[in-house]
Amino acid sequence: MLLIHCPYCGEDRPELEFRHAGEAHIARPENMADMSDEDFERFFFIRSNPKGIVYERWRHIHGCARFFNAARDTVSDRFLTTYKAGEPKPDLGGEGA
């Protein structure tokens, strides 16, 4: 079982307590009513889905219930780091894409 570090609980917890919540750092547009259908589609449906490092939202739903962000490698399924919601993308040094 994977252990995921919850930045709010401050410790590694079993993955069963967590739930994936989509790609992170997607800003909700402020002018949604004025957007073209293509722009809205891009915001709402289109995700990057890369092979390698992804930035994702996760929720410690069966723990502190907080949303946070994580950098994960989709090839190895390894969590590189986790950080609180609202914090900027961390510098992953050589490992980051």
Partner: protein, 180 residues
């Protein structure tokens, strides 16, 4: 037709006492789901008569009343003397949310030298004394259900679960206790 419907509480009659493990239904208690920002913690602590814990996985308890840290702004308050917890918070003017969940939850007391192993049959957390000391508490999973686990003594845990899940939780604990 029956004149009255007998009211049976969840887990009524359920009990297990096996080698190194005892499962008992906890006595009814009042419970409060408390959400509050940092600014309200002080006045709520005063109103409830015990300090709301601020660090993850910690609890405070006094005279049958306990506050369990669930999240950065969330606590479960349990009063075994069935005191009016909502009433106690009503005088606090600071912004908060206090919801009575006394009848949503029920609890099973798991005790004995094998308690840790029995709980680990369904709970993936590290329950060794180093990682989960006396007084530690956490919302977590047990099998397919969500529970709130609280270590009250070295060999004793309180398992809070939703009452509709309580049969499942008890049966799974019982099955785990058989396995040695």
């Amino acid at each position: 037709m029956a004149d009255a419907i007998a009211r049976a509480s969840a887990l009524e009659g359920r009990f297990l006492n096996d080698e190194g493990i005892t499962l008992v239904r906890a006595e009814p208690a009042t419970r409060l789901s408390l959400r509050a920002p940092k600014t309200a913690v002080k006045s709520l602590s005063k109103a409830l008569g015990l300090d709301l814990p601020q660090r993850p996985k910690t609890s405070t308890a006094k005279d049958g009343r306990a506050a369990l840290w669930l999240g950065p702004d969330e606590w479960l308050v349990i009063d075994e003397n069935e005191a009016d917890l909502v009433g106690a918070c009503a005088s606090v003017s600071a912004f908060h949310s206090a919801v009575d969940v006394s009848h949503r939850n029920t609890a099973i007391l798991v005790s004995g030298p094998r308690a840790e192993a029995v709980l680990n049959a369904g709970c993936p957390q590290d329950l060794s004394l180093d990682a989960f000391p006396v007084g530690a508490c956490s919302r977590t999973v047990f099998g397919k259900t969500e529970i709130i686990l609280w270590r009250t003594e070295k060999d004793a845990f309180r398992v809070e679960c939703w009452r509709s899940f309580s049969d499942y939780v008890f049966m799974l604990l019982k099955a785990a206790a058989r396995d040695r």
